[in-house]
Protein backbone atom coordinates (compact mmCIF):
# COMPACT_ATOMS: atom_id res chain seq x y z
CA UNK A 1 0.00 0.00 0.00
CA UNK A 2 1.12 3.51 -0.65
CA UNK A 3 2.74 4.68 2.61
CA UNK A 4 2.66 8.42 1.89
CA UNK A 5 -1.08 9.20 1.77
CA UNK A 6 -1.91 7.97 5.30
CA UNK A 7 0.86 10.19 6.63
CA UNK A 8 -0.41 13.20 4.68
CA UNK A 9 -3.98 12.49 5.83
CA UNK A 10 -2.79 12.30 9.42
CA UNK A 11 -0.86 15.54 9.11
CA UNK A 12 -3.95 17.23 7.64
CA UNK A 13 -6.03 16.05 10.58
CA UNK A 14 -3.56 17.31 13.18
CA UNK A 15 -3.30 20.66 11.40
CA UNK A 16 -7.07 20.95 11.32
CA UNK A 17 -7.28 20.15 15.01
CA UNK A 18 -4.75 22.87 15.79
CA UNK A 19 -7.31 25.49 14.81
CA UNK A 20 -10.14 23.98 16.81
CA UNK A 21 -11.21 25.48 20.10
CA UNK A 22 -9.43 23.62 22.91
CA UNK A 23 -11.73 21.60 25.14
CA UNK A 24 -9.60 22.24 28.23
CA UNK A 25 -11.39 23.67 31.26
CA UNK A 26 -9.12 25.97 33.27
CA UNK A 27 -10.47 24.35 36.41
CA UNK A 28 -9.97 26.53 39.47
CA UNK A 29 -10.65 29.65 37.38
CA UNK A 30 -13.46 28.21 35.28
CA UNK A 31 -16.08 26.08 37.00
CA UNK A 32 -17.42 22.94 35.36
CA UNK A 33 -21.13 22.75 34.64
CA UNK A 34 -22.38 20.00 36.93
CA UNK A 35 -25.21 17.87 35.50
CA UNK A 36 -28.62 18.25 37.09
CA UNK A 37 -28.76 14.67 38.35
CA UNK A 38 -25.13 14.58 39.45
CA UNK A 39 -24.66 12.69 42.72
CA UNK A 40 -22.42 14.82 44.91
CA UNK A 41 -22.50 15.77 48.55
CA UNK A 42 -25.78 15.01 50.35
CA UNK A 43 -28.10 17.74 51.54
CA UNK A 44 -30.82 17.51 54.19
CA UNK A 45 -33.88 19.35 52.95
CA UNK A 46 -35.47 21.97 55.15
CA UNK A 47 -39.14 22.82 55.44
CA UNK A 48 -40.72 25.26 57.89
CA UNK A 49 -37.20 26.11 59.05
CA UNK A 50 -36.41 22.60 60.28
CA UNK A 51 -35.10 19.43 58.69
CA UNK A 52 -37.71 17.24 57.02
CA UNK A 53 -36.01 14.08 58.26
CA UNK A 54 -38.19 11.96 60.60
CA UNK A 55 -35.40 9.54 61.63
CA UNK A 56 -37.08 6.45 60.15
CA UNK A 57 -33.73 4.65 59.71
CA UNK A 58 -34.51 3.65 56.10
CA UNK A 59 -31.38 5.36 54.76
CA UNK A 60 -28.85 3.64 57.07
CA UNK A 61 -30.67 0.37 56.35
CA UNK A 62 -30.44 0.67 52.59
CA UNK A 63 -26.93 2.14 52.59
CA UNK A 64 -24.58 -0.47 51.02
CA UNK A 65 -21.50 1.24 52.49
CA UNK A 66 -22.96 1.58 55.99
CA UNK A 67 -21.84 5.19 56.21
CA UNK A 68 -24.98 6.84 57.64
CA UNK A 69 -25.49 7.18 61.40
CA UNK A 70 -28.94 8.27 62.62
CA UNK A 71 -30.15 8.65 66.15
CA UNK A 72 -33.83 9.47 66.76
CA UNK A 73 -35.23 11.83 69.36
CA UNK A 74 -38.53 13.48 70.27
CA UNK A 75 -39.16 17.19 70.08
CA UNK A 76 -41.59 19.40 72.01
CA UNK A 77 -44.50 18.47 69.69
CA UNK A 78 -43.81 14.76 70.23
CA UNK A 79 -42.56 14.52 66.68
CA UNK A 80 -39.74 12.14 65.85
CA UNK A 81 -36.62 13.85 64.52
CA UNK A 82 -32.94 13.02 64.03
CA UNK A 83 -30.80 14.18 66.94
CA UNK A 84 -27.74 12.85 65.14
CA UNK A 85 -27.46 12.55 61.39
CA UNK A 86 -23.92 11.84 60.17
CA UNK A 87 -22.58 10.66 56.83
CA UNK A 88 -19.00 9.39 56.62
CA UNK A 89 -17.86 10.69 53.23
CA UNK A 90 -14.81 8.43 53.29
CA UNK A 91 -17.11 5.40 53.16
CA UNK A 92 -19.90 6.84 51.02
CA UNK A 93 -20.02 5.48 47.47
CA UNK A 94 -22.47 8.13 46.22
CA UNK A 95 -24.97 5.52 45.02
CA UNK A 96 -27.97 7.67 45.93
CA UNK A 97 -29.94 4.75 47.49
CA UNK A 98 -30.50 6.83 50.64
CA UNK A 99 -32.24 9.49 48.55
CA UNK A 100 -34.36 6.85 46.82
CA UNK A 101 -35.25 5.18 50.11
CA UNK A 102 -36.35 8.34 51.94
CA UNK A 103 -40.15 8.24 52.38
CA UNK A 104 -40.48 11.95 53.24
CA UNK A 105 -38.13 13.29 50.54
CA UNK A 106 -35.86 14.76 53.21
CA UNK A 107 -32.57 13.93 51.49
CA UNK A 108 -31.08 15.04 48.18
CA UNK A 109 -27.74 15.01 46.45
CA UNK A 110 -26.18 18.32 45.50
CA UNK A 111 -23.75 19.21 42.75
CA UNK A 112 -21.02 19.83 45.30
CA UNK A 113 -18.01 17.70 44.38
CA UNK A 114 -15.02 19.33 46.06
CA UNK A 115 -14.99 17.21 49.20
CA UNK A 116 -11.29 17.37 50.11
CA UNK A 117 -10.38 17.91 53.76
CA UNK A 118 -7.31 17.99 55.95
CA UNK A 119 -8.19 15.39 58.60
CA UNK A 120 -10.17 12.16 58.62
CA UNK A 121 -12.51 13.57 61.26
CA UNK A 122 -13.52 16.35 58.87
CA UNK A 123 -14.96 13.82 56.44
CA UNK A 124 -17.72 12.85 58.85
CA UNK A 125 -20.40 15.35 57.87
CA UNK A 126 -22.68 16.25 60.77
CA UNK A 127 -26.32 17.31 60.52
CA UNK A 128 -25.41 21.02 60.64
CA UNK A 129 -23.06 20.66 57.69
CA UNK A 130 -25.56 18.63 55.68
CA UNK A 131 -28.54 20.95 56.17
CA UNK A 132 -29.23 22.85 52.98
CA UNK A 133 -28.40 26.51 53.05
CA UNK A 134 -31.45 28.74 53.16
Amino acid sequence: MNPITPIINGMAITLKHMFMKPVTLQYPDERPKVAERFRGLHGLKVSHSKAKCVACYLCPTVCPAKCITVEAGEDANHDKYATVYEIDMLRCIFCGYCVEACPVDALKMTGEFELANYSRQDFIYSKERLLEKQ
Binding site: I7, G10, M11, I13, T14, L15, H17, M18, F19, M20, K21, P22, V23, T24, Q26
Partner: protein
Amino acid sequence: MGIEILGLPMMYYIAMVAKVLVAFVFVLLTVAYATYAERKIIGHMQVRLGPMRTGWHGLLQPIADGLKLFFKEEIIPAQANKFAFLVAPLIALIPAFITFAVIPFGGVIEVAGYKIPLQIAAYYDTAAGQVYDVNVGVLYILAMSSLGVYGIVLAGWASNSKYSLMGGLRASAQMISYELAAGLCIIAVFMLSGTLSLTKIVELQSGMGGFDWYLFKQPLAAFMFFICSLAEINRTPFDLPEAETELVSGFCTEYSSMKYAMFFMAEYANMVTVSAITVTLFLGGWNGPLTAAMPLLGPVYFIAKVYFLIFVCMWIRATLPRYRYDQLMHLGWKVFIPLALVNIVVTGIIGYFL
Protein backbone atom coordinates in the same frame (compact mmCIF):
# COMPACT_ATOMS: atom_id res chain seq x y z
CA MET B 1 40.73 50.70 11.56
CA GLY B 2 44.34 51.47 12.36
CA ILE B 3 45.05 48.66 14.81
CA GLU B 4 45.81 45.26 13.33
CA ILE B 5 46.23 41.98 15.18
CA LEU B 6 47.84 39.09 13.28
CA GLY B 7 47.30 40.97 10.02
CA LEU B 8 43.57 41.40 10.54
CA PRO B 9 41.85 44.67 11.50
CA MET B 10 40.42 45.17 14.99
CA MET B 11 36.92 45.28 13.51
CA TYR B 12 37.30 41.65 12.42
CA TYR B 13 37.66 40.50 16.03
CA ILE B 14 34.82 42.67 17.29
CA ALA B 15 32.54 41.41 14.54
CA MET B 16 33.57 37.82 15.24
CA VAL B 17 32.78 38.03 18.95
CA ALA B 18 29.52 39.84 18.26
CA LYS B 19 28.45 37.23 15.71
CA VAL B 20 29.31 34.36 18.04
CA LEU B 21 27.41 35.95 20.91
CA VAL B 22 24.36 36.86 18.87
CA ALA B 23 24.12 33.48 17.18
CA PHE B 24 24.74 31.53 20.38
CA VAL B 25 22.27 33.48 22.48
CA PHE B 26 19.74 33.29 19.69
CA VAL B 27 20.08 29.51 19.39
CA LEU B 28 19.87 29.11 23.17
CA LEU B 29 16.69 31.19 23.34
CA THR B 30 15.22 29.29 20.42
CA VAL B 31 16.03 26.02 22.17
CA ALA B 32 14.39 27.20 25.39
CA TYR B 33 11.26 28.41 23.64
CA ALA B 34 11.17 25.42 21.28
CA THR B 35 10.24 23.34 24.32
CA TYR B 36 7.43 25.77 25.06
CA ALA B 37 6.35 25.92 21.42
CA GLU B 38 6.38 22.14 21.20
CA ARG B 39 4.11 21.74 24.21
CA LYS B 40 1.83 24.51 22.99
CA ILE B 41 1.59 23.27 19.39
CA ILE B 42 1.12 19.62 20.30
CA GLY B 43 -1.39 20.71 22.92
CA HIS B 44 -3.46 22.59 20.39
CA MET B 45 -3.18 19.76 17.88
CA GLN B 46 -4.69 17.52 20.55
CA VAL B 47 -7.38 20.19 21.18
CA ARG B 48 -5.81 21.02 24.55
CA LEU B 49 -4.31 24.31 25.71
CA GLY B 50 -0.76 23.34 26.66
CA PRO B 51 1.05 25.29 29.40
CA MET B 52 -1.16 28.13 30.59
CA ARG B 53 -0.39 28.96 34.19
CA THR B 54 3.24 30.16 34.34
CA GLY B 55 3.04 33.72 33.10
CA TRP B 56 0.73 34.92 30.36
CA HIS B 57 -0.36 31.80 28.44
CA GLY B 58 2.50 29.91 30.09
CA LEU B 59 5.22 32.05 28.52
CA LEU B 60 7.54 31.66 31.52
CA GLN B 61 7.30 27.86 31.40
CA PRO B 62 10.82 27.25 29.97
CA ILE B 63 12.32 29.43 32.72
CA ALA B 64 10.33 27.59 35.39
CA ASP B 65 11.41 24.24 33.93
CA GLY B 66 15.03 25.32 33.85
CA LEU B 67 14.94 26.54 37.45
CA LYS B 68 13.29 23.36 38.60
CA LEU B 69 15.86 21.14 36.89
CA PHE B 70 18.67 23.31 38.22
CA PHE B 71 17.63 22.72 41.82
CA LYS B 72 16.97 19.01 41.42
CA GLU B 73 19.14 16.50 43.24
CA GLU B 74 22.18 15.31 41.34
CA ILE B 75 22.25 11.51 41.33
CA ILE B 76 25.22 9.51 40.04
CA PRO B 77 24.63 5.75 40.19
CA ALA B 78 27.12 3.98 42.48
CA GLN B 79 28.31 1.57 39.79
CA ALA B 80 28.48 4.18 37.03
CA ASN B 81 31.70 5.15 35.33
CA LYS B 82 31.89 8.58 36.84
CA PHE B 83 34.06 10.39 34.31
CA ALA B 84 32.20 9.13 31.27
CA PHE B 85 28.89 9.69 33.04
CA LEU B 86 29.77 13.33 33.68
CA VAL B 87 31.26 14.09 30.30
CA ALA B 88 28.55 12.44 28.17
CA PRO B 89 25.98 15.28 28.37
CA LEU B 90 28.64 17.75 27.27
CA ILE B 91 29.62 15.57 24.33
CA ALA B 92 25.97 15.43 23.33
CA LEU B 93 25.37 19.16 23.74
CA ILE B 94 28.47 20.80 22.27
CA PRO B 95 28.33 19.34 18.72
CA ALA B 96 24.71 20.46 18.50
CA PHE B 97 25.77 24.06 19.06
CA ILE B 98 29.09 24.28 17.22
CA THR B 99 27.49 23.15 13.98
CA PHE B 100 26.09 26.67 13.82
CA ALA B 101 29.60 28.03 13.19
CA VAL B 102 29.41 27.31 9.47
CA ILE B 103 25.77 28.02 8.75
CA PRO B 104 25.28 31.33 6.92
CA PHE B 105 22.32 33.13 8.43
CA GLY B 106 22.45 36.26 6.31
CA GLY B 107 24.24 38.04 3.51
CA VAL B 108 27.08 40.58 3.86
CA ILE B 109 26.16 43.56 5.99
CA GLU B 110 28.18 46.74 6.36
CA VAL B 111 28.85 48.15 9.83
CA ALA B 112 30.92 51.36 10.06
CA GLY B 113 32.43 50.77 6.64
CA TYR B 114 33.50 47.21 7.49
CA LYS B 115 31.79 44.39 5.63
CA ILE B 116 30.67 41.49 7.80
CA PRO B 117 29.33 38.25 6.35
CA LEU B 118 26.61 36.87 8.61
CA GLN B 119 28.18 33.49 9.16
CA ILE B 120 30.35 32.82 12.17
CA ALA B 121 33.25 31.05 10.48
CA ALA B 122 33.66 33.54 7.64
CA TYR B 123 35.24 36.90 6.94
CA TYR B 124 35.16 39.43 4.13
CA ASP B 125 38.54 40.01 2.57
CA THR B 126 38.49 43.69 1.60
CA ALA B 127 41.53 43.38 -0.69
CA ALA B 128 40.17 40.41 -2.65
CA GLY B 129 36.57 41.71 -2.31
CA GLN B 130 35.05 38.34 -1.52
CA VAL B 131 33.83 36.25 1.40
CA TYR B 132 36.04 33.49 2.71
CA ASP B 133 34.35 30.78 4.75
CA VAL B 134 35.10 27.16 5.66
CA ASN B 135 35.29 25.67 2.18
CA VAL B 136 34.32 22.21 3.46
CA GLY B 137 31.43 23.44 5.58
CA VAL B 138 29.18 20.50 4.75
CA LEU B 139 31.85 18.00 5.76
CA TYR B 140 32.23 19.89 9.02
CA ILE B 141 28.50 19.58 9.64
CA LEU B 142 28.55 15.86 8.89
CA ALA B 143 31.52 15.40 11.22
CA MET B 144 29.87 17.29 14.06
CA SER B 145 26.53 15.55 13.71
CA SER B 146 28.34 12.21 13.89
CA LEU B 147 30.06 13.35 17.09
CA GLY B 148 26.68 13.76 18.77
CA VAL B 149 26.16 10.00 18.85
CA TYR B 150 29.20 9.56 21.10
CA GLY B 151 27.50 11.49 23.87
CA ILE B 152 24.48 9.22 23.72
CA VAL B 153 26.45 5.97 23.49
CA LEU B 154 28.74 7.08 26.33
CA ALA B 155 25.75 8.04 28.44
CA GLY B 156 24.18 4.64 27.82
CA TRP B 157 27.38 2.77 28.62
CA ALA B 158 28.50 4.83 31.62
CA SER B 159 25.14 4.63 33.38
CA ASN B 160 25.67 0.89 33.95
CA SER B 161 21.97 0.20 33.50
CA LYS B 162 20.41 -2.14 30.99
CA TYR B 163 17.83 0.36 29.77
CA SER B 164 20.45 3.02 29.24
CA LEU B 165 22.72 0.61 27.42
CA MET B 166 19.93 -0.53 25.12
CA GLY B 167 19.01 3.08 24.44
CA GLY B 168 22.62 3.88 23.62
CA LEU B 169 22.95 0.87 21.32
CA ARG B 170 19.74 1.71 19.50
CA ALA B 171 20.90 5.30 19.10
CA SER B 172 24.24 4.32 17.61
CA ALA B 173 22.73 1.80 15.19
CA GLN B 174 20.06 4.27 14.14
CA MET B 175 22.33 7.27 13.75
CA ILE B 176 24.93 5.38 11.73
CA SER B 177 22.40 3.89 9.32
CA TYR B 178 20.57 7.16 8.75
CA GLU B 179 23.73 9.20 8.42
CA LEU B 180 24.59 7.21 5.30
CA ALA B 181 21.31 8.08 3.64
CA ALA B 182 21.54 11.73 4.77
CA GLY B 183 25.09 11.95 3.40
CA LEU B 184 24.00 10.48 0.07
CA CYS B 185 21.21 13.07 -0.11
CA ILE B 186 23.73 15.86 0.40
CA ILE B 187 25.89 14.44 -2.41
CA ALA B 188 23.07 15.20 -4.82
CA VAL B 189 23.34 18.83 -3.71
CA PHE B 190 27.11 18.86 -4.27
CA MET B 191 26.57 17.55 -7.76
CA LEU B 192 24.47 20.63 -8.52
CA SER B 193 26.58 23.15 -6.64
CA GLY B 194 30.07 21.83 -7.29
CA THR B 195 31.24 23.21 -3.96
CA LEU B 196 31.17 22.25 -0.28
CA SER B 197 31.18 25.83 0.97
CA LEU B 198 27.81 26.70 2.48
CA THR B 199 28.10 30.37 1.48
CA LYS B 200 28.47 29.33 -2.16
CA ILE B 201 25.63 26.84 -1.91
CA VAL B 202 23.34 29.58 -0.60
CA GLU B 203 24.54 32.01 -3.28
CA LEU B 204 23.78 29.46 -5.99
CA GLN B 205 20.18 29.33 -4.79
CA SER B 206 19.67 33.10 -5.02
CA GLY B 207 18.33 33.19 -8.60
CA MET B 208 14.70 33.71 -9.66
CA GLY B 209 14.08 36.43 -7.09
CA GLY B 210 15.48 34.32 -4.26
CA PHE B 211 13.41 31.25 -5.06
CA ASP B 212 15.89 29.15 -7.05
CA TRP B 213 15.97 26.61 -4.22
CA TYR B 214 17.50 23.15 -4.48
CA LEU B 215 14.20 21.90 -3.08
CA PHE B 216 12.71 22.30 -6.56
CA LYS B 217 15.65 20.66 -8.32
CA GLN B 218 16.11 17.90 -5.75
CA PRO B 219 12.72 17.36 -4.12
CA LEU B 220 13.42 13.70 -3.32
CA ALA B 221 16.80 14.47 -1.77
CA ALA B 222 15.33 17.33 0.28
CA PHE B 223 12.51 15.18 1.56
CA MET B 224 14.78 12.24 2.39
CA PHE B 225 17.40 14.46 3.99
CA PHE B 226 14.87 15.99 6.32
CA ILE B 227 13.45 12.59 7.33
CA CYS B 228 16.94 11.13 7.80
CA SER B 229 17.90 14.12 9.89
CA LEU B 230 14.88 13.53 12.10
CA ALA B 231 16.03 9.95 12.53
CA GLU B 232 19.58 11.04 13.21
CA ILE B 233 18.61 13.38 16.03
CA ASN B 234 16.18 10.82 17.52
CA ARG B 235 13.05 12.89 17.04
CA THR B 236 9.66 11.22 16.88
CA PRO B 237 8.68 9.08 14.96
CA PHE B 238 12.24 7.76 15.28
CA ASP B 239 12.76 8.31 19.01
CA LEU B 240 13.54 4.67 19.76
CA PRO B 241 16.64 5.43 21.88
CA GLU B 242 14.40 6.99 24.48
CA ALA B 243 11.23 5.01 23.91
CA GLU B 244 9.42 5.49 27.21
CA THR B 245 7.16 2.50 26.75
CA GLU B 246 10.02 0.02 26.46
CA LEU B 247 13.20 1.60 27.78
CA VAL B 248 12.00 3.84 30.62
CA SER B 249 13.86 6.83 29.20
CA GLY B 250 16.63 5.16 27.19
CA PHE B 251 20.11 6.58 27.50
CA CYS B 252 19.08 9.30 29.96
CA THR B 253 17.30 6.98 32.41
CA GLU B 254 19.95 7.46 35.10
CA TYR B 255 20.43 11.17 34.54
CA SER B 256 18.89 13.83 36.72
CA SER B 257 19.14 17.55 37.35
CA MET B 258 21.17 19.75 34.97
CA LYS B 259 22.74 16.80 33.19
CA TYR B 260 19.32 15.64 32.12
CA ALA B 261 18.57 19.21 31.09
CA MET B 262 21.69 19.15 28.95
CA PHE B 263 20.47 16.09 27.05
CA PHE B 264 17.13 17.79 26.66
CA MET B 265 18.78 20.94 25.35
CA ALA B 266 20.97 18.88 23.03
CA GLU B 267 17.86 17.28 21.57
CA TYR B 268 16.23 20.62 20.84
CA ALA B 269 19.48 22.27 19.73
CA ASN B 270 19.89 19.38 17.31
CA MET B 271 16.42 20.05 15.99
CA VAL B 272 17.27 23.72 15.41
CA THR B 273 20.58 22.75 13.78
CA VAL B 274 19.01 20.18 11.51
CA SER B 275 16.34 22.64 10.44
CA ALA B 276 19.05 25.23 9.75
CA ILE B 277 21.06 22.77 7.66
CA THR B 278 17.99 21.74 5.69
CA VAL B 279 17.15 25.39 5.09
CA THR B 280 20.71 26.12 3.96
CA LEU B 281 21.00 23.16 1.63
CA PHE B 282 17.52 22.95 0.18
CA LEU B 283 15.38 25.97 1.05
CA GLY B 284 17.74 28.64 -0.23
CA GLY B 285 19.26 29.61 3.12
CA TRP B 286 18.67 33.27 3.80
CA ASN B 287 17.56 33.99 0.25
CA GLY B 288 14.22 35.56 -0.44
CA PRO B 289 12.70 38.47 -2.27
CA LEU B 290 14.40 41.88 -1.85
CA THR B 291 17.44 40.61 0.08
CA ALA B 292 19.76 42.49 -2.28
CA ALA B 293 18.15 45.82 -1.40
CA MET B 294 17.82 45.14 2.32
CA PRO B 295 20.54 42.77 3.60
CA LEU B 296 18.91 42.64 7.03
CA LEU B 297 15.95 40.80 5.50
CA GLY B 298 18.29 37.80 5.05
CA PRO B 299 18.36 36.75 8.70
CA VAL B 300 14.60 37.32 8.89
CA TYR B 301 13.95 34.93 6.01
CA PHE B 302 16.44 32.46 7.47
CA ILE B 303 14.77 32.51 10.89
CA ALA B 304 11.31 32.24 9.36
CA LYS B 305 12.33 29.19 7.33
CA VAL B 306 14.08 27.54 10.28
CA TYR B 307 11.06 28.11 12.51
CA PHE B 308 8.79 26.70 9.86
CA LEU B 309 10.85 23.49 9.74
CA ILE B 310 10.87 23.29 13.55
CA PHE B 311 7.11 23.59 13.38
CA VAL B 312 7.04 20.73 10.87
CA CYS B 313 9.12 18.62 13.30
CA MET B 314 6.55 19.24 16.02
CA TRP B 315 3.71 18.67 13.62
CA ILE B 316 5.19 15.28 12.68
CA ARG B 317 5.60 14.48 16.37
CA ALA B 318 1.95 15.27 17.04
CA THR B 319 0.87 13.06 14.14
CA LEU B 320 2.96 9.94 13.86
CA PRO B 321 3.46 7.11 16.35
CA ARG B 322 6.90 5.63 16.94
CA TYR B 323 8.32 3.20 14.40
CA ARG B 324 9.12 -0.35 15.38
CA TYR B 325 12.84 -1.13 15.34
CA ASP B 326 12.73 -3.44 12.33
CA GLN B 327 10.62 -0.91 10.43
CA LEU B 328 13.19 1.76 11.24
CA MET B 329 16.07 -0.32 9.91
CA HIS B 330 14.03 -1.38 6.90
CA LEU B 331 13.25 2.25 6.10
CA GLY B 332 16.88 3.30 6.48
CA TRP B 333 18.69 0.53 4.63
CA LYS B 334 16.15 -0.76 2.13
CA VAL B 335 14.26 2.40 1.21
CA PHE B 336 16.28 5.55 1.79
CA ILE B 337 19.77 4.37 0.84
CA PRO B 338 18.69 2.80 -2.51
CA LEU B 339 16.49 5.83 -3.26
CA ALA B 340 19.36 8.19 -2.48
CA LEU B 341 21.71 6.20 -4.72
CA VAL B 342 19.19 6.23 -7.56
CA ASN B 343 18.77 9.96 -7.00
CA ILE B 344 22.53 10.47 -7.35
CA VAL B 345 22.67 8.42 -10.56
CA VAL B 346 19.70 10.28 -12.06
CA THR B 347 21.20 13.62 -11.06
CA GLY B 348 24.47 12.55 -12.67
CA ILE B 349 22.84 11.48 -15.93
CA ILE B 350 20.77 14.67 -16.18
CA GLY B 351 23.79 16.76 -15.24
CA TYR B 352 25.90 15.07 -17.91
CA PHE B 353 23.44 15.69 -20.72
CA LEU B 354 22.50 19.26 -19.77
